[in-house]
Structures are given as C-alpha cells and as structure tokens.
C-alpha cells in the first residue's frame, strides 16, 4: 500500500493546503519554533506528504524524523479547517508499514506489548492494588500507566478524594490495560487494537457503564479512538468533567481554598477532547483565581512538549521551557493542569530553568481542599 491508500479522502486536504498556503499554522508550531525549518510546521508536513504521494520524496531517515517529531498538539488544527493531525497519523501508519520507525518508538511499542506500559516498568507497578484495591462498579476510574508509575502523588490524592468524599469509584486493577494511545499515535495499529480489545473485553465483563480518566491520553483513546474501530457503549469522562458534575450537584463537601493559579490546557484534553471550561470551573469553585497564559490558552494553548518527552527529550525540553515561561509570565507560583504528562514536562522545564514552582494536577488541588 502507498500513502494515498492510507490517506484516502484526506489526500484532498493536501491539495487544499497547497492551494491555500495561508500559513496560519507555521509560525506558532512548537517544533518549528525550536528547529526552524518550515518542514517541521503543519504546512511543511502537508507539503511533504504531497511530495510522498506524488513520488518526489523518498522514505529517508530525515522524513521519518520530521513526522515523528510532531507533538500532535493540534495547534495547527485549531487555526485551520483541515484534518492536519489525522493526516500526520496516517503518514506515520504508512511509515510503520514500511518499517520506517525510529528505534525508540519501536522500543516503546515492545514495552507496551510485553509489560503493558510504555516505560518498561514491571506490570505490577502500574496496578497499585495495595493503594487502590480492585472493586467492581458501574463507574470506574481508569488509571493509565503514567500516574501509578511516575506521578504517584496523584494516585494518593485520588484515594484521599474517594475516602473523604465518599464517592468511591470502581477500579479494574490487573484487568485494566494500557489504553494504547501511544501505539495509535505512532501508527502501530495492530498493537493498538490488541490493547483496545483487551480493555473493551474487561469493561464488558465488569459491566462498566462510565469510565473516569485522569490522563487525557486515556480519555481520548477510550472515548474517541476505540470507537473508530469498535462499537462501544460506555461513557467516558475526564476527571475534571466528573468533578464538575459532582460539584454542580453539591455532592462534594470541601473547604474553600484561596490564591492564584495558572491553568495549563493539555492538548489532548482541550484541542482533541474539547474539554475547556470544566477544569476551570472546578478550580474556581474551589476558591482559586484561575489565571490564563496570555494569548495562548484554551483552544490556542501551546504545547508543553510532553507527548514527545520519551522520544525526543531535548526537543521536548525546549518546548517545555517556552511554555513554562508563558505560564509564569502571569505571575502565578502554582501551575495546575489536567494531565500528568504535561505536569511532568513542566516540572522538568522548571528544573531546567531552576525555577521553583508548584506543578499540580487538578486532583491534587481538590484533595488539599478536602483535608
């Protein structure tokens, strides 16, 4: 199969872009801002995809690098009307079919296939049953891989939230599998589908009706990506939507907090998931003043580089520092987000810049209001 077969109708998008050439996506692309060449912007990648389709560009290492360095943040899509990131994902799928994939991406695939997480951690590390015993319920929490392995403070906050609020969510424990979004984003479709099938089977067997996720990656996978391939009948909520629902119905008792925070929009939650106002409302109900990164917030928020942190740490770090500076320009000393990977990326950026700033998840903020 050639790229045209993977893109199908999306090929028209490439020609629309070439016809339009408006360039709205070029300057702000986080990867282009660091690497400079237009080829790293959305318009550049669209041109290049056309080059592949027309047979003017071969499958070189450079080409692979250009497509895999995209953070898929979707800023380009917000200022466009085309399916930019869908095209880039399909180019990646095509590259995977030609075995033109960087080694680190293959290693991460292998880690998910063998250990059910992208971090080569032992499987038991990602099923923290000692903290969160498995429990059947129609509404469950889907923990994902990153929180139990690298951001355990969120897990403890979640536990506290459940204890103090009495809102106990079910948890599948060892029957929860890596959502596979990383595989989907890289283009390992077969392996992604295997993860999806395992999870869907678990959800069905446990009679799950509602799934709450903290990780926006899991949120998008379960909500949007699985349904591209399977009929699914469960509902998916991001934790911020879940908390919004509970607080809106006065179902949580909390003490008011005070102070200013700046909210960082995770790309997967905001641009891909369109969850924009709920996290802000929750934080405001908790008594906090929510500051916005000047110009770059909500649908136009800038990427923190988190999605490529494991693949291209140096590039991710440059992007993270740019975002951190924007957030700190508000004067806030606390950054709150709704994505553990963004929080890790911003934490790293703060360390690199030698800045002392609290980077917290919305669940952590809530838990302090419950003490």
């Amino acid at each position: 199969m050639n790229l045209r077969d993977y893109l199908k109708d999306l090929v028209d998008n490439l020609y629309t872009c070439a016809r339009t050439q408006c360039g709205f996506c070029v300057y702000e692309c986080p990867v282009r801002r660091v690497l400079g060449f237009e080829t790293y912007s959305s318009r550049g990648r669209m041109h290049l995809a056309r080059g592949i389709v027309e047979g003017n560009v071969g499958l070189t290492e450079k080409l692979v690098d250009i497509y895999f360095k995209c953070t898929l943040c979707g800023y380009c899509e917000a200022v466009c009307a085309l399916d930019n990131t869908r095209i880039f994902r399909n180019v990646r799928k095509f590259l995977v079919s030609k075995n033109a994939v960087p080694r680190i991406h293959r290693e991460i695939r292998d880690s998910i296939v063998s250990s059910d997480n992208p971090y080569s951690a032992e499987r038991r590390a990602k099923t923290p049953v000692q903290v969160l015993p498995p429990r059947k319920s129609k509404t469950i929490i889907f923990l994902g891989c990153t929180i139990p392995i690298s951001r355990r403070q969120i897990l403890l906050s979640l536990k506290k939230f459940m204890e103090k609020s009495g809102m106990t969510l079910g948890y599948l424990g060892p029957d929860e599998y890596c959502c596979g979004l990383v595989l989907y984003e890289i283009g390992f479709e077969k392996e992604f589908l295997e993860q999806a099938e395992k999870n869907i089977k678990s959800f069905k067997e446990s009679g799950v009706e509602r799934i709450v996720t903290i990780c926006p990656g899991c949120y998008i996978a379960l909500k949007e990506r699985y349904s591209e391939y399977f009929d699914v009948d469960y509902e998916v909520l991001h934790i911020s939507e879940y908390l919004y629902e509970l607080m809106n119905k006065n179902k949580i008792k909390y003490r008011k907090l005070s102070g200013e925070i700046v909210y960082h929009d995770p790309c997967h939650l905001t641009r891909h998931g369109k969850v924009v106002e709920e996290p802000r409302a929750v934080l405001e109900w908790l008594g906090l003043t929510v500051l916005e990164a000047p110009h770059y917030n909500k649908y136009y928020s800038r990427c923190c580089g988190g999605s490529i942190l494991s693949f291209y740490p140096d590039l991710a770090s440059e992007i993270g520092v740019m975002r951190l500076r924007e957030l700190l320009s508000t004067g806030a000393e606390t950054i709150v987000s709704g994505c553990e990977i963004c929080e890790i990326a911003l934490d790293k950026a703060a360390m690199r810049e030698n800045v002392f700033v609290d980077v917290l998840d919305i669940v952590e903020v809530l838990s302090t209001a419950l003490s």
């Binding site: 020609y15 070439a18 016809r19 408006c22 300057y27 041109h47």
Partner: protein, 497 residues
C-alpha cells in the same frame, strides 16, 4: 547549481551557521516550493539550500558567500506572496523567521526596533504589554513578517487612518547584494530632508536590492474603543461619494472597505458557519461599504451616527443586522486567535473552521490586485466582469481597500475562482494581464499590494516604460552581481504569456 559549487557553498554556510541551520535536504526544501499565487497542482520552485540566520551579521555572511559564488539569494517571510515573490530559482533561500526578536520598545517615542522576521501578529502581541499597537495590520498577519510587508508594501486594514508601510518606517538595516550592512533612513523619526531617503527604495523592492534585517517602526497607543458600521449602496460611485463626503466633513474612519455583493459572500463565512444561511442583502445593492471608527466611545458614537446621516444623503442604507457586521469583521480582519481581540464584540474565528482552507477545497482564490483613481472604480469593475467572463473565470468578488490616510486612494482586489489545471491557471494569468494593463490605462498601477514578483516581471514595462531602465541601474548599485531575488520585477514573467 553545479554540484561541486553546491558542496563548497554548503560547507561554507555550515561553517558559519552550523549544520542545524543549513540544509540541502529535499525534505527541508520542498515546503518552500510554493507561494500563494495560482499555480498548477504539481508546480514547485525549489531552492538548492535553505538557511536560517538569527542575526544581521549572519545574513551578511550568507550573502557574502552567495556573492563570492554568484548564486541567487531569495529571502522569505511567511511565504504567502500572491505574485511568487519568494519563490526561489535555485540558490540560497533565506528563511527569516528565526529573526523574530523585538529589540527595543521605546515607549516614550512611540517607536520599536525589531528583527525583520517577526510576524505582525506576534509583534502586536508583544506591544500589547505596553498598551501600544502597530496598526499596519495585513490580513496574513499570523505569518507575514515585518520584512515582507516592507518588501511588498502590502495592504492593511487600518490604512485609511494610518497609511501604508512608508508611514511607519523610520529606518532599516539592510544587507546589500554584496553582503555589506547598511543603515538606511532616519533613526527614530519619519521626518527628514537630509540625504536621499534610501529606505524608501526598499519599500516594495521585493528583496531585489538586498535583505531588510531590522526595522525601526512607529507605533501608536492602542485605541480605547472601536465600533463598526456597514452600508448597502446601489453602485460603487454612490459608496465612494459618501466616503468622500465623510472625509470632507471630518468623519474619519479607521478602516474602509467597499465591496461587491459577491465578495460579501466570501467574507460572511463565519455568519454562514453559525446560521447556515446567507445574510440578507437588498436586491438593488451593488456595493457594500464597511467602516470602523476608533477612539473615545463618545467620539466613535458621534462618527457612527454622522456616517449614517451622510450615507442616507447619498442613497445608501445601513446594515441593521449587527451579527452580519460582527461576522464580517471576524472573517475579514480578526486573526485566528483571541490574542487579536481588543473589544468585547470582536469574535475570533470559530476554532477548527478557519475560512481560508475551508473555502479553497476545490478551487482557489486568485486576484488581480491593482489600483485606479477613485473615479475609475466603476469602469474598472465593468472591465473585471468582462475579462473574467472572457477567460471563463467565475467571479469571486471585488474589494476596494482605502489605503491612504484620510483620502480615497485605493487598492483593489478583483478576485476570481481558479482551478488547478494548466488551462485554468493560464487563463487566470491572461485575465491578470488584461486587468493590469487596463488599470494602467485608467491612470492607475498594475500592482497595488503584492509587488511585481515573478508574475508582473517584464509585463511592468507597460507601466514604467524607460523608467524601468533607471530602476535596473538602482538595482545594480545595491546588487552588482544580480543575485538578489532574481526573476522578480525584472526579466520575463514565469506566469504571464
């Protein structure tokens, strides 16, 4: 370029800028292969090398290498030229977008010094911190750079109040075709009678004399309030007379656009996206005038009221549907992001539904951008309908942009829909050529906002006659080897037969 020469030039450039900012890879060159001018599906113009300088000194070093080897240098900003102005003809393409720093904000004197690769939108975002504004607001501002608007003398939204780039340009730093760095203009003032005003030569020079690397621009305090108003007119002449009368009577708009009914459709994309219907336009309408006023609210309110009175005297009617006005403003002027918005009623584009690509899915926007004296607009409009029909091009619409402070000197975009096939593209350029010549015949100019580029190169002798010879002599002074953006302004058009 000869392979041996390419190798040597490449290694010299790598020595200067480092490997990460010089590339000969096809993957890096291909994205620079097009501009916004209509072309066939498979058109591409490739540079041999792309470089990413970060300073004037680096640009100078790059041009010195090019001068030594006598190879073309094409500067590039956002790449949205409508005349192929930044299409390379081999050689070195200089992508200026890493030169995007604001070097000085002189609040007391209302001037800023910037690197020329900064996009207008980004500059205004920075100026906002100081309550300042660079009102030379081109529609491609999200990516169009300061250098490119100098090089093209582009149209701007607010030019009936603030004027084109010459009204903002105090001085520039340029790298000439030999690589020499020269400061042109008058430091931080627009006013001087000393020497020749050589910085003006670089206005719409399209990179043919050298590369502008830094600029000192006048800026203004951001207005406290803005409002918009629109009117239907039975003809363009009615609309123009109303505007002339307003200016005479001291009603001074901040922006003015006069367009035909068809063009209105193109700019009500946001209205259609929201309501799924076309805005209502009276049968008898030929022209639609949109104005904005800015200043203190009571002053703006007074001007709005007065403009309505004057328009009625000239047979026009106000647009009563506020949504039409706001959505038009959104489609036409407001950039993509909320950072552009200054006033509560201004709305951003609907995210993920930006008008430009959405309207270009099967055919593209192509325009003859000319100027004619204001009394000839009606005649030019008739010619537009005649030529577009002659070449089988569907009319997209015409828009008159008032581009000179407090006057009715205009730039006009006569747009048509153009397909991707060779025949359609060829017909478009046939149409363009006739429009260009007609504009000159009517006492105007063949190019009002996009330079000559590769499109009008050679054709422009019709406008300039033997003056073109003097222009070439000026070029030789700045660019003795003829390496600076070759094929633009002079020589034969790549596009027009």
């Amino acid at each position: 370029m000869d392979k041996e020469v390419l190798k040597r030039v490449y290694s010299k450039l790598v020595e200067l800028l480092g490997e990460e900012r010089v590339s000969v890879a096809i993957e890096d060159r291909l994205p620079y292969s097009r501009n916004w001018n209509p072309c066939t599906r498979d058109f591409r113009a490739l540079p041999d090398i792309v470089v990413l300088p970060k300073s004037t000194e680096e640009v100078s070093q790059v041009v010195k290498v090019a001068y030594e080897y006598k190879i073309p240098v094409t500067p590039r900003g956002g790449g949205t030229s409508m005349s192929g102005g930044s299409l390379a003809r081999g050689g070195i393409l200089v992508d200026m977008k890493l030169m995007d720093r604001v070097l000085e904000v002189d609040k007391e004197n209302y001037v800023v010094r910037v690197q020329a690769g900064i996009p207008i939108l980004r500059l205004n975002e920075e100026l906002r911190k100081y309550g300042l504004w660079f009102p030379y607001d081109v529609e491609s501002k999200a990516v169009a750079t300061v250098g490119s608007v100098i090089a093209l003398r582009s149209d701007g939204t607010f030019n009936i109040r603030y004027g084109k780039i010459e009204n903002h340009l105090c001085s520039i730093t340029v790298v000439t075709g030999t690589g020499e760095v020269v400061e042109l203009g008058h430091r931080k003032t627009l006013i001087s009678t000393s020497g020749y005003h050589l910085h003006w030569l670089f206005i719409s020079s399209e990179g043919t004399l050298g590369i502008v690397t830094e600029a000192v621009l006048r800026v203004v305090p951001a207005p406290p309030h803005r409002d918009i108003v629109g009117f239907f007119f039975p003809s363009f002449s009615h609309g123009v007379k109303a505007l002339v009368d307003m200016l005479k009577r001291g009603v001074l708009p901040e922006s003015a656009n006069l367009q035909c009914k068809n063009r209105l459709k193109f700019y009500t994309h946001a209205y259609r996206a929201k309501y799924g219907v076309e805005p209502k336009v009276p049968e008898w309408t030929e022209a639609v005038l949109f104005l904005s006023f800015a200043g203190d609210k009571d002053v703006v309110d007074f001007m709005m009221k007065k403009s309505r009175e004057i328009v009625r005297e000239h047979g026009g009617e106000p647009i009563e549907d506020r949504e039409v006005l706001e959505m038009w403003w959104t489609s036409k002027h407001v950039a993509i992001e909320p950072k552009e918005l200054r006033f509560p009623w201004e709305k951003p584009f609907i995210p993920f539904k930006q008008k430009w690509p959405d309207s270009q899915r099967t055919r593209r926007f192509g325009a003859a951008g000319v100027s004619v004296p204001v009394g000839k607009i009606q005649e030019m409009y008739r010619k537009y309908l005649e030529y577009s029909s002659k070449y089988g091009l569907e009319v997209l619409g015409m828009n008159v942009y008032f581009q000179h402070p407090n006057s009715t000197h205009v730039s006009i975009s006569f747009a048509v829909w153009v397909g991707d096939s060779e025949e359609e593209v060829r017909n478009f350029y046939r149409y363009l050529k006739e429009m260009a010549k007609t504009a000159v015949d009517l006492g105007g100019s063949m190019s009002a906002y996009y330079g000559d580029g590769e499109v009008l190169a050679g054709i422009n002798v019709y406008e300039h006659g033997n003056a073109l010879k003097y222009m070439l002599k000026i070029k030789e002074v700045f660019d003795p080897a003829g390496i600076m953006n070759p094929g633009k302004k002079f020589g034969e058009s790549r596009w027009v037969e």
